[in-house]
């Protein structure tokens, strides 16, 4: 039993929301979540808006501080780590975001965006970084000449590929993908999903895949966790959960998916 790459234990995250005139409300976005991702595994977290899935992803990426609980990456407590340890974790865990229109800096060229992780962690010489950028752009199916382009010259699908290239550049062990295909058209979704699948297969990456589309999840993940109002109500191997959902919410979600046949 190998040590999990990512281990979330008892994660709780509360926000203070100001509603109306000076009234403070505590919002419990995540109410005690346990989750593991093994090396090379694809784990999907599915939930509707307000389920806390995005907050979960942000806590894993250390963009938010948990109110309680721990998040361990390869044994390192992400939120209590010192600067050097955290930097090492950040290099091995890369994000892919949902909105292709805001996930790239509009003033940066594709090359610079893809290189960002390499520059931040000073990986390789400038020449090596440039070569890596070309390599990774090719991997995601974008021609090398795109390196000098800016985001507004690219389509949504192309931008999302650049985002994936940027995540792959530092050779991470884990991708945390927050609804990476939701904002894309069906045919483009298919391209990006195929790409992610290929990359995962070739590089042995682990992926934590946040989604709300059950059909995408069924197609893509090894294990799935269903989130509802900040808690995981059901989790297990994808085929098992989809064929024999134990929880009533999971059943309701599955029933609601518009059927194509």
């Amino acid at each position: 039993m190998s040590t999990p790459l990512l281990e979330v234990s008892g994660l709780v995250k509360r926000f203070v929301a100001r509603s109306g005139v000076g009234r403070r409300r505590i919002v419990e976005a995540v109410r005690g979540v346990d989750l593991t991702v093994a090396p090379g595994e694809i784990v999907a977290v599915v939930g509707e808006s307000g389920s806390g899935k995005t907050t979960l992803a942000r806590c894993v990426l250390a963009l938010e501080r948990p109110t309680a609980g721990t998040i361990r990456f390869d044994g390192v407590d992400v939120h209590r780590a010192g600067r050097r340890a955290l930097a090492a974790v950040r290099r091995r865990m890369q994000p892919v975001f949902q909105d292709p229109y805001s996930s790239l800096d509009p003033r940066w060229t594709v090359d610079r965006s893809v290189r960002e992780a390499l520059d931040v962690h000073r990986i390789g010489t400038p020449a090596e970084r440039a070569a890596r950028v070309r390599e990774v752009l090719e991997r995601v199916g974008l021609p090398a000449r795109f390196a000098d382009r800016r985001p507004h010259e690219l389509s949504g699908g192309q931008r999302q590929r650049v985002g994936i290239a940027a995540a792959l550049a530092p050779r991470p062990d884990l991708l945390v993908a927050d609804e990476p295909v939701t904002a894309l058209d069906v045919s483009v979704q298919a391209q990006v999903l195929n790409l992610l699948h290929e990359i995962q297969r070739d590089l042995g990456l682990a992926i934590l895949f946040i989604a709300h589309d059950l059909s995408v999840v069924e197609h893509f993940s090894d294990r799935v966790a269903v989130m509802y109002q900040g808690r995981i109500v059901e989790s297990g191997a994808t085929s098992a959960v989809f064929e024999h959902p134990a929880d009533s919410y999971t059943q309701a979600l599955l029933e609601a998916v518009p059927a194509l046949r």
Partner: protein, 334 residues
């Protein structure tokens, strides 16, 4: 069987810095009274532009040609005043984002009541009563007290129900719904679609449902038209089109959906990108990406009848059913 709404050769061109873009090109379609008609396609295919054109909501610098006949009158030929009289009364529209469709400063009940008062000569009290009735009919619990609540007190799904209530306030003959459930969760989506279906069955309202989601089409639509790059490529009864797609684009679209494939990484991909609408390909606009394109595709294909109201615009269908069966791209995940 006379059509409620009939588009005849509708074309819309937008002026862009690069030249005029042919966003909708010679679209013919007709919607019968009481049916839910799906207009499906990916972003940029022109489906929203079509809906806006039908309501007379296109920007002033859009050039339109062709006709959109409703109730025997060409909507494109009407002036603003006549269109205003129709909108909200005989034809109403539902947009994707309920947050921006509702005025955040007014109670929802008042917004429904106003929609009624604009078109009907009734007292305020009567309008209020009807508004509460409508709120109940769209499934908002405790309608009488929620009448006073402003939009932000409702969840996304509830807001969309309010928007639907406003759209249905004056018993329109036709509702144009532009991606009404895209911004909503799966379960709420199912409820909203069921609500629309019920209204249509009970009141005989027709719906033009513009969507990119084939699942939605399968769920509620009676008939469907598939659009690509400004043209209708296939149309017919929803069940027929989805189970036996005739046009290569429809087939490819269905094959690209994850739900239909059991194996991983085997999603069929449509190579290439949508064409530039300023200089679209001559002939069939899907030809550059079509796996079975051939020389004849450089002429615009005509709509071929395939029986039972199912039509496809593809030269491969021209030889009749035998030709269609012989085409190689047959995706069937079983």
């Amino acid at each position: 069987m006379s059509a409620l709404l009939s588009a005849e050769g509708l074309s819309v061109r937008y002026r862009t810095p690069a030249g005029p873009a042919s966003v909708v090109d010679r679209v013919d379609l007709s919607i019968a009274p009481g049916e839910i008609f799906g207009l499906v396609g990916e972003s940029g295919c022109g489906k929203t532009t079509f809906a806006l054109a039908a309501m007379g909501l296109l920007p002033a610098d859009a050039e339109t040609s062709g006709r959109v006949v409703f109730d025997g009158r060409d909507l494109l030929a009407l002036d603003d005043e006549e269109l205003r009289r129709l909108r909200g009364d005989r034809i109403s529209m539902i947009f994707q984002d309920p947050l921006t469709s509702l005025d955040p400063t007014f109670p929802v009940g008042a917004q429904i009541a106003e929609a009624i008062l604009v078109h009907r000569d009734v007292t305020r009290a009567e309008a209020r009563r009807r508004a509460i009735e409508l709120l109940e009919s769209v499934g908002i619990p405790d309608a009488a007290s929620r009448y006073r609540d402003p939009p932000h007190r409702f969840s996304g799904g509830m807001r969309q129900r309010v928007v639907i209530a406003i759209a249905l306030a004056n018993e329109p003959a036709l509702v144009l719904a532009d991606e009404p459930t895209t911004a909503l969760d799966v379960r709420v989506q199912a409820q909203i679609l069921a609500l629309l279906r019920r209204r249509c069955d009970e009141h005989g309202t027709a719906v033009l449902l513009v969507t990119h989601d084939l699942g939605v089409v399968a769920e509620v639509c009676d008939r469907v038209a598939v659009m690509y790059a400004g043209r209708v490529v296939e149309t017919g009864p929803a069940a027929a089109v989805l189970s036996s797609p005739a046009h290569p684009y429809t087939k490819a679209l269905l094959a690209a959906l994850p739900a239909r494939t059991r194996q991983r990484g085997a999603l069929e991909v449509i190579a290439g990108e949508i064409p530039d609408l300023v200089t679209p390909p001559p002939g069939c606009r899907f030809a550059p990406r079509c796996p079975v394109a051939h020389e004849r595709c450089s002429d615009v294909p005509a709509m071929t009848a395939l029986g039972d109201g199912h039509h496809g615009a593809c030269w491969l269908l021209d030889g009749g059913p035998a030709r269609a069966a012989a085409s190689p791209v047959e995706e069937d995940g079983s």
